[in-house]
Every structure is written in C-alpha cells, then in structure tokens.
Amino acid sequence: MSTARTLAGRQLRRAPWMTAAIAGALGALIALVALFEVVGDAQVRSLSGALAENDADLWVLAAGAQGALPASRVDPVWLDTVAATDGVAAVGPVGEVRLGVRIDGGELVDASLWGIDPDSPAAPPVTDGRTVTAENEAVVDAADRHLGAVPGAHVDLADVDGRLAIVGTTEDRRFASIPTFTVPYRRWEQVIDDLNPDSDEVFPTALAVRLAEGADPEAVATAIADRMDELVAVPPAQLANELPGIDGLRSSFATAALVALVAVAAVSGAFTRLQVEHEHRTLATLRALGAPPATLRRATQLRIAVLVLLGTAVATVLVAVAEQTTPPQIPISLEPRSLVVIALATWAAAALAAARGLRAVRRLDPADVLRAPT
C-alpha cells in the first residue's frame, strides 16, 4: 500500500496545475449540485415559510381560491359555524395583504402584512422581543433585520396613514419573499378598510383552526367542507406546498440538481478515463520495471479518491462563500449529508471509469506498448 501511496502522491505532485484544475472543476460541479438543493430550499422557505411553519392544525380557505392565498376571502359569518364543528377547539381570522412600508424612514419596500391575533392558533411564535399587546404594534420576520426590521424600530405604512412599532421577531415565517409583518387582526382590518375607501366589507383571507385534543384533522377538515360548500380546510404545511409557483420552483431546482448530479458523475468519469489512457505508457513502463498491476490500480484509485476529496474541499469552500455572500433573505445553509452523498456519487463514477481503463493495464504486454509509436 505504501508503494501505491508514494506513486499516487508523486503523480499528483508532478502535475500540480492539472491536479488543481481537476479538483477545481470537480469542486465547482459538486458545489453546483449542493447549491441547487440549498438555494431551492431557501427560496421555497422564503416564499412560503409563514404557512409551512405555522402552528395551526388547519387553515380554512375559500374553496374557489384553489389554495391561492391572495384569491381567498372567507365570509366572517362562517367563523361561528367553523368554531361549532366537532373537534374544533379554537378558531381565529387570518388576513394577508401586500403594501409598501418604510422601516425607520428607510427606502420604500413591499411587505406582506398579516393580521393575526396573538392568541390565534396561527400566531407565529416570537423568538426575540415580545408579542403584540396594542393595535399599533407588530412582529417581523428576522430574515429582514438587514433592513433595520428589529425590535424598537418603527414602520410607516406607505399606502395608508399609520405607524407600527416593532416589538418582536419571528424565525422562518417569511412570505412571498418580502418582509413579513404581523399585526393584530383588528389593525389589519383597519388597513384594508383604508386601502379600499369605496367599500366597507372586509373579509379575512382564511380562518386558522386549533383542534381539540385527540381530534382527527382529516375528519374535521371533511366536516367543515361538508357543512360549508364554499370552504375548504387543509393543514397549513400542505397549503404551503400548493401555493402558486411553489411546485414549479421546487421542480425546477430538483431537475437542475439531478442534471447537475449526472453531469458531475459523467465529468469525473470521463476525466478519469482520459487520464488513465493518457498514462498508458507510464503504466506500461512501470509494469516493465516489475510493478504488479494491483499496485498500479491501487495507486490510480488512491489518486482519484484524493482528487475527489480535494474537489469536495473546494466545494465546501465555495458553498461557505455562497452562505456568506447571499442576501440574508435567502438564508442558505450547507447540508453536510448532501455534500457527502454528492461526493460519494462523484467518487463512485470516477472509480468505475478508472477500473474500466485499468482493466486494459492488467492485460497489456509492456513491451508492446513501449514499442508502439506514441
């Protein structure tokens, strides 16, 4: 094994630029696959976190909205009917609207304003600061702290008169990839009323339901839909998955990651094969000098393993750089398990390609190779 190790080490050191180029290319490809996975997850979280992480057992929406939150309006008269359904312990209205805000007098940005009472089944848990206790207070998702959205800051609503004081932050509760604020439902109603001066009707976007202990969510959802044709009840995580665009985004990143994984395996295999062929003459010389084929195979496989390891190290650095440089609203974080799986796939493809190339070395007659023209 020590001879193989020496041979592999010298081969790598003899062509440092080639070693660096191969490790760099492998690293970039491995990083590409890993990034597709983590960036895809981060994008989906940023679009739908407010629903995906919601603590309510069921959300009740207008059946006609087809799961599209902006299209859902639930007539408030249904609130009592839903509350009276068997298995329902608590129910609260939820509202969502997009509007412009200025955080501490900063630039005008679009925001998602949620109306959820602090005791509602859908209320997001506050991780820093406190929950709202007054109508002009809000909690904000911490992903937008770089905009100054932190407890103590003030938010001016651009489209209507009003100022909110931020009193707490939430984690992973972003929506539509924009700053996400939560105010008491009554305050949200006022905002909608002010935004639509021609109409007095304000309907909640959805109703959030907490189930009684032991109640079956599916049975309660069916009971709600049976009693009220216009409504549909689904767990919030399912709703998050069915939001418009989420499916397309998720499948895009998954397709891209799959094709990139095939690419990294193919490239590592092809390069290995080319290198083994390139070294045919050197290997024949070593055979002529008495080196056993098994030693040559081990040396090549060892070198490949080292190259893949170097590539994985490059990939780790690249992903770490991406983690540091991506904006905080797309919080990507490296999954070591994914990196290991991708690296293993890369190594397997390269090792197989090398094994195929080395099969010829076992059979070759060194004299024939050395006599042959180059």
Partner: protein, 381 residues
C-alpha cells in the same frame, strides 16, 4: 485549413471513440447548461408572459402600487388624461385578479385579465378564434396554457366559481405569476372581481395599469415624464416606466433571474474549466505527435487549426446531442416543471457553449505553442 481538416478526419477514422468520448462529456455539461437556461427562461416567461403579450412602450401604475400589476389601480380620469399627453399615440387599461376556471368539473387556477380591446392592452398574438371586444357579455379568450389543459374555442367555462362564460378565442401563452390567463372584457372582469374581492367593491371601469404606445418618432423615455407631469397637474400621482422595467418589477422575476443566473454562470465557468482541461489533455496526449509534425515542417498554425477544428467538431456533436436530450426531457417531464425549449434559448446556449469551449481551446493553444520538437524527439520518441 484543408490539411487540418484532413488530419482531423484521419484521426477520427483511426480512433473514432476519442472525439466521441470528449463530446459525451461536453454533451452532459451542455445539457446541464441548456436545462438551466431553459428553466430560467421558462420560469421568467411564465412569470411575466402577460406583459410580454401586449404591444406597449410604457406602463402606467398608480404611485402606491410601486410597479406591481396586481396592486395597481390607476383611476379612470388618469387613463383618460394619458391619452391627451403630447407624444402618446394610444392608451389601454389592463387589470388582473387571481381567479379560477372550472371546465368539465375540473377547477384550475388562473389569472383573470380585464382589458380594453383595440388598444395596446390587447394581446398581440391570437392563435385561434378572436379576442372579446369591450361590452360583449359573458365571453372570454384563454391563453395557450389553458388551451393545452383542454379548453377549446366554443367551450363554456366558469370563472371564479360563479360566472359562466363562453370561450371565443385562444391567445399565445401569456402566463402571469406562473398562472395561465383568461382575457375578459371590462364588465366580465369587474363582475367576477367584485365577487372574489368584496373589499374592492364593483368597479364601473377597468382600474389596473395603463398601457401606452407612443407616436412614431417619439422617445418613450421623454414621453414618460411628460405623462407624470401632466397628471400631477390634475392631482393624479402615477408612475410611468418602460415595459421592460415593468417586466423586471414582476414579483419573483428578479429573484429567479439572480438565483438561476448565478447558477448558470457557475455552470458556464465549469464548462470553461472542463473544456480547458479536455484541450490540455488532448495537447498533452498528442505532444509527441505534434513534435513529430513540427519536425517534419508542419507550421504551428496547422497544429492550432487542428486543435480548434477538433474542438469545433466536439462542440457541434455536444450541442446537437444536448439539444436532443433537453428536448426529450422537456417532452417527458410533467407540465408543472417549467421546461419549455425555445429556439432562441437553444441559439443562445449554443453561442455560450462555443465561447466557453473557445476559451478552453485558447488555453490549449497556449500549451501547444510550447511544444519543442527537438526535446520531444530526442527525449521520448
């Protein structure tokens, strides 16, 4: 060039697997690049198709909307006022609300688009039938995405679970925020919208965005501030931007472009590195052969031409195979996956691949120039 071609041809005959193997490697990478670019393109088309479907120079938003089509509510006096601004040829109004379409018992998500016919708000490409005109009751046109889902001209569909209408035409795909679109006259839009969004009330006229065509010879960049200034005199605050800017402002469009764009860039860098690696391996492998050819009097230009020609053949094989693979993949995946190959995407990817391989080839050429016939013939021949 003829000698270089002959050399490449002879080599291909002698060892046909060599260019094919290199082509296979690049095919995989080219497929990766093509899939990424196609995903990016399709996501963008499906996100912003509505604005790409109209023929306008400028888009008018109410100031509070901050260039968001769904939120914009340009008041009627403002859209009328735009028509009187110097340099404006025509103006139309377009309004969008999220809705649903029920057809044969199946409910699909959609965006309901209210538009003024015979104005810049009308979709430019009608594939079948016609588009509705203002005032026509209970008729709509659907876009090609809904047509693919089985809705034909003459079918009756239900909008927003409440209003039954007849389909009179199919327009080219004009999806918005990843949803297919239904194009309706103002009254149909207003009735459906009022039912779906009670807080908005019933709008007697379309209130959404204004789409403006400027007169021939006028510069849209100069007309835009004139519109803003004229309307401000009437106490109407609007924001006027070029159509391309409005497309860029569609929610998610820039995030997708930046995210996927960065990953496409990374993929192209990898292709450059791999192409360079392949070219270097090829030069290294043929170093002795090149030395012999140089010793026999072959000019360096011939060897360079041979290398570039070889890479050109590999590029052609890889691009063709990648195109076929991506087109097959696009046909095989479910419609939810945004993978629709367009000729323009293919052409752009082919050019980018050529550039990437060209950069790789340039590295190989540098190495090729360093071949020393005497050293190689004496030392290793």
């Amino acid at each position: 060039m003829r000698t270089a071609t002959r050399l490449v041809w002879l080599e291909a005959r002698r060892t046909p697997t060599r260019p094919i193997r290199a082509a296979v490697t690049l095919t995989v990478l080219a497929t990766l690049a093509l899939v990424l670019i196609t995903l990016l393109d399709t996501l963008e088309q499906r996100g912003t198709g509505l604005l790409r479907a109209v023929d306008a120079d400028l888009v008018v938003f109410n100031e509070e909307a901050r260039q968001q089509v769904l939120r914009s509510r340009v008041p009627r006096p403002a859209t009328i006022g735009v028509g009187f601004v110097d340099g404006v040829h025509e103006v139309g109004v377009l309004s969008v609300v999220p809705s649903t379409v029920t057809h044969d018992g199946e409910q699909l998500r959609s965006m309901l688009v209210g538009f003024n016919a015979r104005t810049p708000a009308e979709p430019t490409r009608v594939l079948e039938g016609r588009v509705p005109t203002d005032g026509e009751p209970n008729i709509v046109a659907v876009d090609a995405a809904l047509h693919r889902a089985g809705i034909d001209v003459g079918d009756r569909i239900v909008l927003g679970g409440s209003l039954e209408v007849e389909v009179v035409g199919v327009v080219a795909e004009a999806m918005f925020l990843q949803q297919p679109t239904v194009w309706a006259p103002p009254d149909v839009w207003a009735r459906t919208g009022a039912r779906a969004f009670p807080e908005r009330g019933y709008a007697e006229a379309l209130v959404g965005i204004g789409l403006v065509q400027v007169q021939i010879g006028e510069d849209p960049a100069e007309v835009a501030p004139a519109i803003v200034a004229d309307l401000r005199e009437e106490d109407l605050d609007v924001e006027v931007v070029a159509l391309a800017e409005a497309i860029r402002a569609v929610p998610g469009a820039s995030a997708i472009r930046v995210t996927f764009g960065s990953l496409v860039l990374l993929a192209l860098v990898v292709i450059v590195v791999v192409s360079a690696g392949l070219a270097l391996l090829q030069v290294d492998r043929d170093r002795a052969l090149h030395a012999e050819l140089r010793a026999l009097g072959a000019p360096p230009g011939l060897l360079s031409a041979t290398l570039l020609l070889r890479l050109g053949v590999v590029w052609l094989l890889a691009t063709t195979a990648a195109t076929l693979l991506t087109a097959s993949l696009a046909a095989a995946v479910p419609p939810a996956v945004p993978l629709a190959v367009r000729p323009i995407t293919l052409a752009a990817t082919a050019v980018m691949l050529a550039l990437a391989i060209g950069v790789g080839g340039a590295v190989g050429l540098t190495r090729l120039r360093g071949v020393d016939p005497a050293e190689l013939l004496g030392g290793r021949g």
